[in-house]
Symmetry: C2
Subunit: 325 residues, 2 copies
């Protein structure tokens, strides 16, 4: 069985996009349902998803466990896994972790770019790691079967999350720093620690994480995957987390970067001259381009088993272990 | 004019306590209206204060500016200044700083014991200081005339708050570490930096901050004030911030320490054997004992001007400068 899974997307969801997921053969997508939304605001986003599940029952279904992904595949649908890119929806309340688990949340970043109540983000000057509350929340996520995602976290936070968590963690969407220096990309130390602990890395196709940005070629991207496999030992920790942000107005990337924490404008990975969403590379404009990845990986010399792992089977096994059934 | 001001209290407020404030000659008390309450919950606490102002118009009035303290004194009332012991009521939203200022908030701690979105608390293992959002909030508090309170913050956070703030900051309730080693008490470095920058220290009479705890004598307390004046240069940065927590059930100290961040029990400055509120020293059981401080300071050899400063005039001048009129 070859599952096709994308480890992170945040699109301006629509029937068109769900159709593109089907055309691209995606059996499962981990979707972001909140950035800086508090509990009540994130519930509103979840209500929107409920309306899409009701409206597009032949295209998408919610996944609570890995077996739901198998069911989606059997029925030609895409399974949707909910995740948060910041811990804002649990506010300062550890009790909300279980509430969110019941509502179907399965993956949560401990930080976005800034310091959170749980850990340090990759844009802070000082990198103090996991806080007192962070340790408690990691234990609670472990207990319930929620995946800890450190994509936007600082190095110390990520290494400590790997250490404190009794289960492997994920970096759902980032690339190696050796390939493209960016605050969001990860050092060799982090990547090795991640693979040694059984964690997962999802390769990002968001242009700010790519060498040559929007002009990065499919071959360059696949060569980077090959080098990362060498660094991390093999391909078993590797997946895709495309970070596809399709059809959004630029006000959304402004919200992602600024939330409500500043009265000025923070440009994050962009700049005042390049403030909006960057242009996607031409080989990954939307979900229907997912098969291009298989072509690229084949040309790069990966075996079919390795390719199947990278394009979905590794995420599937990781989700199965992490979610508990 | 000799104002009598207490720089921090958090009591189970009642007509009895407001009467004791009058009997003790207090012209002004900075009261905590929130610990871990979010915006809406803190508004509920403010509603309670509105009902007390309505019910006890001859005893208390809200102070927005120093001139309100003068008015309270003229009318034999106690002026009440609102403060937060954590930034929880602004949630993750810098826009709420101005909303709270309009509602009368005048003093806010950037952290309680734990890491906040703004700074590091004194109980964290790593002390990373002020965060990106913390810098923005400091600037906003400076703009509006809100006092930055670092009583529960870590050393680096406190030193950085002094550095980043364009106005002097306060430690409303703590004692020097040289006198009694406690995570909540402050190092010589912090105290010197505070006085050099024109900030204020309010001496705490909360037993966990006192040498010999509940058995600390008035003389020991006043001798400590004299030594601190030597360290900090003179008495101009000194005041009282009694941290009086009167008439509360122990469930309140549990809330203060645990909020919603842990599923276990944190005992803070106490222990499992000594979990509740500690017993007050017999010379400061409630607000009517405030005159005892004057007796103690006189006996210790302070001049009347120095005593008037420590017991209220220093806070009055600091409030006047900080609040903007």
């Amino acid at each position: 069985m070859a599952y096709k899974i994308d480890g992170l997307q945040y699109a301006n969801w629509s029937g068109k996009i769900f159709e593109q997921m089907q055309h691209g053969g995606l059996d499962c997508v981990h979707v972001t349902i909140a950035y800086h939304e508090n509990f009540r605001e994130a519930v509103l986003n979840l209500e929107k998803w409920n309306s899409w599940f009701e409206r597009y029952p032949d295209r998408i279904m919610q996944a609570h466990y890995a077996e739901d992904i198998a069911e989606a595949k059997r029925n030609g649908k895409t399974a949707i896994i909910f995740g948060f890119q910041t811990p804002a929806p649990i506010e300062d309340d550890i009790g909300l972790v279980e509430i969110w688990h019941r509502l179907g949340m399965r993956i949560m970043q401990l930080t976005y770019n800034n310091q959170s109540l749980l850990a340090t983000g990759c844009y802070e000057i000082e990198d103090s790691g996991i806080t007192r509350m962070g340790r408690e929340v990691i234990a609670e996520m472990n207990r319930l079967g929620l995946i800890i995602d450190m994509s936007h976290s600082s190095q110390n936070s990520t290494l400590q999350a790997i250490e404190y968590s009794t289960k492997p963690i994920a970096i759902t969407h980032a690339n190696p720093n050796f390939w493209h220096q960016a605050k969001r990309n990860k050092s060799d130390i982090v990547l090795k620690s991640l693979s040694h602990s059984g964690g997962m890395l999802g390769f990002s196709i968001y242009p700010h994480h790519l060498k040559n940005a929007s002009n990065c070629s499919l071959q360059e991207f696949c060569d980077m995957i090959a080098k990362t496999a060498d660094l991390m030992g093999d391909t078993s920790s590797l997946g895709i987390g495309s970070d596809l942000c399709q059809d959004h107005p630029d006000s959304i990337v402004e919200w992602m970067r600024n939330g409500r924490w500043t009265k000025t404008l923070d440009y994050g990975e962009g700049s005042s001259q390049n403030a909006g969403f960057p242009e996607q590379p031409d080989w990954f404009m939307n979900n229907s381009d997912f098969p291009n990845l298989e072509k690229g990986l084949l040309k790069t010399g990966f075996s079919q088993t390795e390719i199947d792992g990278i394009l979905g089977n590794n995420w599937y096994e990781f989700f199965k272990t992490s979610f508990g059934r």
